[in-house]
Symmetry: C2
Subunit: 394 residues, 2 copies
Amino acid sequence: MISDKMKNLVANNSAIRAMFEEGKRLASIYGEENVFDYSIGNPNVEPPENIKNAINEILNEESPNFVHGYMNNSGYEDVRDEISKFLNNKYKLDLSNKNIVMTCGAAGGLNIMLKTLLNPEDEVITFAPYFGEYKHYTNNFDGKLVIVKPDTSTFEPNMDELREKITPKTKVVIINTPNNPTGVIYSDAALKKLSSILEEKQKEFNTNIYLISDEPYREIVYDDVEVPCILKYYKNSFIGYSYSKSLSLPGERIGYVVINDDMNDFENIACSLNIANRILGFVNAPSLFQRVIGKSLNTEVDVNIYKRNRDLLYNHLINLGFECLKPQGAFYLFPKTPIEDDKKFCEDAKKFNLLLVPGSSFGCSGYVRISYCTSYEKIERSLSAFDKLMALYK
Amino acid sequence: MISDKMKNLVANNSAIRAMFEEGKRLASIYGEENVFDYSIGNPNVEPPENIKNAINEILNEESPNFVHGYMNNSGYEDVRDEISKFLNNKYKLDLSNKNIVMTCGAAGGLNIMLKTLLNPEDEVITFAPYFGEYKHYTNNFDGKLVIVKPDTSTFEPNMDELREKITPKTKVVIINTPNNPTGVIYSDAALKKLSSILEEKQKEFNTNIYLISDEPYREIVYDDVEVPCILKYYKNSFIGYSYSKSLSLPGERIGYVVINDDMNDFENIACSLNIANRILGFVNAPSLFQRVIGKSLNTEVDVNIYKRNRDLLYNHLINLGFECLKPQGAFYLFPKTPIEDDKKFCEDAKKFNLLLVPGSSFGCSGYVRISYCTSYEKIERSLSAFDKLMALYK
C-alpha cells in the first residue's frame, strides 16, 4: 500500500536493521565494552558547556513567545546577521542576512536547495566516495544522481570524468569537504579546476550549473589546515552547513544555507528557499537552537579529542600494513581493504567484534570506513582486534 | 533558473509579501497598537512555565550527548512510550511506542505520511474551508488535491459530495478538527458517517483509503467539548499532532504522528514513515524538545485566555449583525462577509486598520477568517473599527 518510491527503501531497510541487531547481539554475548562499533557518525565529544549557558541566558532574558514562536521561514534576522558577520570575518566576504537561510541541519538545507533547483530528470553530479543520502535527496525531486568515479590516489574530484559527465541536463554538482568518508579537504587547486570546468560547461551548454558545498565537517579539521571557501571560487555556489558536528548537536537539526551574493537569479532563489523550507514541512529551523547558535558562533567542540583518536588508530593501521590517506578532517579513516571484496572484509571484521562500513556503501568498493568518533580507551582496546583481523590475510 | 514547481509559488509570494508590507506601512503611520492584525496564527498565550523547568531539568540531569544526539529516526523510545501511555489513558486505547513517530510539527508529519502513501496522480481529498498548505504538501509528491465544497450550514464534511468525489485514485482523505478556519469540531455522527463512506468505497474499488486527522488544535477547545478520537472510527487512520498551539511552541517544530494499530500494512507504513523522516531531511524531530514533551504531557496553555477573546469578539460581531457559527475550538472566527466579495471586504477592512484573511484563501468565498490569538486589550480597541466597517454596508 506504500508508494513505489518507498517500497524499495523499506525492503532494503531490513539489511540496515540486521546490522544494528547484529551489534546488539554481539554486545549481549561479549559485553558492550568489547564490541567496537566503528560504523556510526554520532559525535562522542560533548557539546561545549557554552551551549547550556546560552540556553539558560535565552530562557531567562528573552520573551518565551519570541524564543519559541514563528519567525520568517528563513530564520530570525538577527541570528542570520550574526552568522553573516561571522562568515565575513572568517573569509573576508560581504554577506548579509539575505544570504543566509536557517535550516534543519545540512539534510534540510540540501533538500530545500534541490527542491528549488531540480526539474524531473535533471542531473546532479557528485564524486565517489559519496554520502549515500544524496541519492535519496535527489530522488525526492525526481532528479538523477550521476556518480563520478573515485580518484583513489588523492580522493579529490576526478576532473576528467567530471568534464565528460556534464550534460545540458546537469543542474547541480555536490561536493562534500572535508569529505565523509575520506577526511580529505579539497585543495585550492582542486576547487579552481572544478570551478573552471563548470564555467566552461555553463558557456558551452548555455545553462546554469549550481555547485553545492556540503560542509558539516568544516570545523572538524586537524593540523591547522584551512577549508577554502567555495563562494570565492564560483558564482553559482551554495554552502550547506550544520552544527551537528562542530557543536555536537546532531539531534537538534540546526544548520544553514549560504547563497553566493553573485549567484544568477539570486532573488528568486532566496525566495524559493524560504518557501521550500515552509512547504516541505520544515516551516523553519528549530527556534530556540537558532537563538543558541546566534550566541555560540565562536564556540567549537574540542577537536583535539578527535585528533588523538585519529592518530592512535591511523598509526596502528599503517603499522599493520593498511594503505590509508591521513585524513585532514572529519572523523573517519578510509583505508584500502587488504582483500578486494570490502563486504567480505567487513564480515570477517565482525568475527573480532569490529563493526565497519564497506566502501561500496559510498560507491567506492575495495575500501572501508572506520568512524573514530568513539572513546580513546575503546579504540585502544580494539587495536588487538585489528591485529587479528589483518593476520587473516597474511 | 528555479524549478517549474517553485516558479508559480515564488511569483505568488509577492502578494503575501505585499500584505505583510501593508501591515508594516499601516503600523508606521498609525502606530502598532492601532493596527489590528487578525491575519496570523501565531499563539500569543505564553508557553506554560513548566516548559522552562523541563528544559532545565533535562540539561541538569541527562547526558548532553544523549539530549542533543541522534536517536532512532522515529524518535526516542521512552518519549514515544510516554505519549502512547498518555493517549491510551485519554482515549482508552492500546498503543505502544511502535504507533508513534515524532515529527517536526504537524507539517513534518503530513509530509512524511504523504511521502509514504502517494504515487504520482494519486488523489487526496479534503474539505473546504481547508488549510492552504495541503495543496503544497500534496504537490510535493505529485498527488492531486481534490476539494469537497463547504457545507456552510454546519461546516462539517459535505458527505454527499465526498461520496461522489472518491475514485479508484483516492489514496488519502485529510480532515482538520478542530478546524482552521471555522473552529468546528467534527461530531461523533459526522466521523461515523465519514468512516462508513470510506469503508464502503474501499470495498467498491478494492483500494485502501487512508484517513489523516490533522489535529494541531486538539487541546484548544472550549466549553468542555471533547474531540473524538479518529482511531476508534476507522482502521486506516492516522493522527497528525503538533505542540505548536497546545504548548505555544510553533517555532520548535515538535509533534507526532499516530499510526492506527489496526491499519492495513502497518509494519511497512511504520518503517516508511521512519525512512521518510530521514530522507526528506528532517532526520528526526528536534531532540531536546522531544525530551521536553516527554515531561510535559499533562501540561497545556491557559485556554481561557483564548476563550475570553473568542467571547468578546464573537458577541460583538453577532451584535453587529454578522452571521457566524460559534467556534468550539482553535482560535479563529469564520463569519460570513456582509457582501459577497470577501476579497473586497478585506480591502475595505484595511481602511480601518483591520487585517483579515478572505475565505477564498481557504476555498470558501463569502467568508472571512479572523484570528483572535492576540491580546484582549487589542481586541477591545479594535471593536469600533468593526463597527465602522459594518456601517459601510448598512
